[in-house]
């Protein structure tokens, strides 16, 4: 069992200083709009991932008008007590500690405390660009494969260097081909291994999502997912070679694993173009549930599940089904937010699980 017991938020978003104790496995959080429900979930997410699910910079996380912030949690993992602390200093320098030991690299933390967030804007995963889907896959793979995140960070750094070189070359009308070849070699080294990881992963993940979709939607809508990558047909080195002229002309790198996507189709047509609202939601939950199940299977224990405003998204029947699956059939910690305290309470009573309500 892995779960949070106590959390202290200092100058984090709307919280100046507040602490919460979680005594049950199922935690309902209720409060009006703007009361800080999402922020509380994000604090938990932050401690699992060393960063927010939503905001890009730490400056956005610090309570307006204050300098620095701190998140601290007591938790339980495999029957052992643990402690996580994150401090963002006045100068926005970040420190992260697990059991009082400071991390040299934040990437070492990823995967030790797995969590899955489901938030209202996640429909972007279905309707948005490929970047959102890559982000989801990368977050998941970073937790599963040690080293994945480091390779990905390295790949992105080298990619930036390569693009800068191409830009400078276009400006000065002179390219240092030796340097480009070195960067290509460094990029390929990472690109090829990342592709292998993603390919191995997709072969298991995609059937799981399709199966989850059927169970959530209650019927088979012929939803077809495929892992799309330029590396299916050529190695990273071949791609860079083939695209060199074009890359030089456009001053950016047009091929590589940074273009990967998960294509979504239904009955042979592009999913987002023809799917109904209900079908989109079903696919979103299928993706998230598969993420949850994959983590559980890989880690050998259940990840923390953070459900933000899901009541607004699903009808009562589907909602009950979903909650039954994640609260009753699974034994992990679940946080659920809602504006209506009574609706939350009623849902938990229907499920007949021990629960705790936090009212903001």
């Amino acid at each position: 069992m892995f779960g949070f017991r106590h959390i202290v938020l200092t100058q984090f978003r709307n919280y100046l200083y507040q602490s919460f104790s979680f005594t049950e496995r199922i935690v309902g959080i209720s409060g009006e709009n703007g009361s800080g429900k999402t922020n509380l979930l994000d604090a938990v997410y932050y401690l699992c991932f060393t960063r927010s699910y939503f905001s890009r910079t730490d400056a956005q996380n610090v309570h307006h008008g204050q300098q620095g912030m701190r998140l601290e949690a007591q938790l339980l993992k495999n029957d052992e007590a643990g402690k996580l602390v994150c401090i963002v200093r006045e100068n926005n320098k970040k420190e992260f500690y697990a059991n009082d030991e400071e991390y040299k690299k934040f990437s070492d933390h990823i995967g030790l405390y797995p969590a899955v967030m489901i938030a209202p804007d996640d429909t972007e995963l279905i309707t948005g660009g490929s970047e959102d889907r890559r982000k989801m896959i990368d977050t998941l793979l970073s937790q599963i494969y040690p080293g994945y995140l480091q390779q990905l960070i390295a790949y992105n750094k080298i990619l930036q260097q390569r693009n800068s070189l191409l830009k400078a070359a276009a400006e000065h009308k002179r390219l240092d081909t030796s340097l480009l070849e070195i960067l290509d070699m460094q990029l390929c080294e990472r690109g090829d291994v990342i592709y292998q990881w993603r390919k191995t992963f997709a072969a298991e993940f995609i059937p799981l999502v399709q199966q989850q979709y059927i169970s959530i939607a209650g019927k088979d809508d012929q939803v077809q997912l495929t892992y799309d990558s330029q590396l299916h047909n050529a190695s990273m080195a071949e791609l860079l070679q083939q695209n060199r002229q074009r890359d030089m002309y456009l001053a950016r790198t047009g091929a590589g694993i940074h273009k990967d996507d998960i294509d979504m189709h239904m009955n042979g047509l592009v999913f987002k173009n023809i799917a109904s609202q209900g079908q989109r939601k079903s696919l979103l939950f299928a993706l998230k549930l598969s993420e949850f199940l994959t983590l559980k299977q890989q880690k050998g224990f259940t990840p923390v599940l953070l459900l933000d405003d899901v009541f607004e998204k699903l009808d009562a029947g589907r909602m009950h089904n979903l909650l039954h699956r994640v609260c009753v059939e699974e034994q992990g910690q679940v946080f659920i937010t809602d504006t209506h305290n009574e609706r939350l309470e009623k849902a938990f009573i229907d499920l007949a699980v021990p629960y705790q309500l936090v009212q903001l």
Binding site: K104, K105, A154, K157, I158, Q160, Q161, R162, S164, L165, A168, D176, S178, L179, E181, I182, L183, M185, Q186
Partner: protein
Amino acid sequence: MQLPSSLLESAVNEFSKLPGIGKKTALRLVLHLLKQEVGEVQQFGDIITRMRRDIQFCQRCFNISDAKICSICANRLRNQRQICVVENIRDVIALETTQQFSGTYHVLGGIISPLDGIGPDQLNIESLVHRIGEEQTEELIFALNPNIQGDTTIYYIQKKIKHLPCKVTTIARGIAFGGELEYADELTLGRSLANRLPVDSYISNR
């Protein structure tokens, strides 16, 4: 900060331009100088001025120097056929402190990073390649920070001297990948210099 004298204020402003020095610390330093004899402060100022004015960069290795050629290059007891490539002068000082190295240095003046606008042309790379050919260097030892740009720089230089019969090694990575040379303790730094590796093998072993 309200100061009663504009002389004081401009002195404080100058001190606070130094790295790691804020206004408060600057004031403390200036007030300390005020307590000294005029002659002493004069000497302090003169030494700083002379340091900046008279210091040169070694024409051979780009280390700081009092003459055209630095004391390390000029020392005939040191192995002139061995060149340790470093990013900056601070690294020379760190490596010299270990007393483990008796060859010569070459200060690149930075590291290849197109993102920061630094290409090979901005660094002392051409002079290095020239030097290796001229001096019949037997071994080139890279002591660069273990990160991606460090690797890029190593590969690039290695490629430029492929035609020369010079052995290329790099300091062993006792220092964590992503760490900073400057902050490594003397012992680690000394040991990793002693256990340097051929560049080919550390790439595949990582």
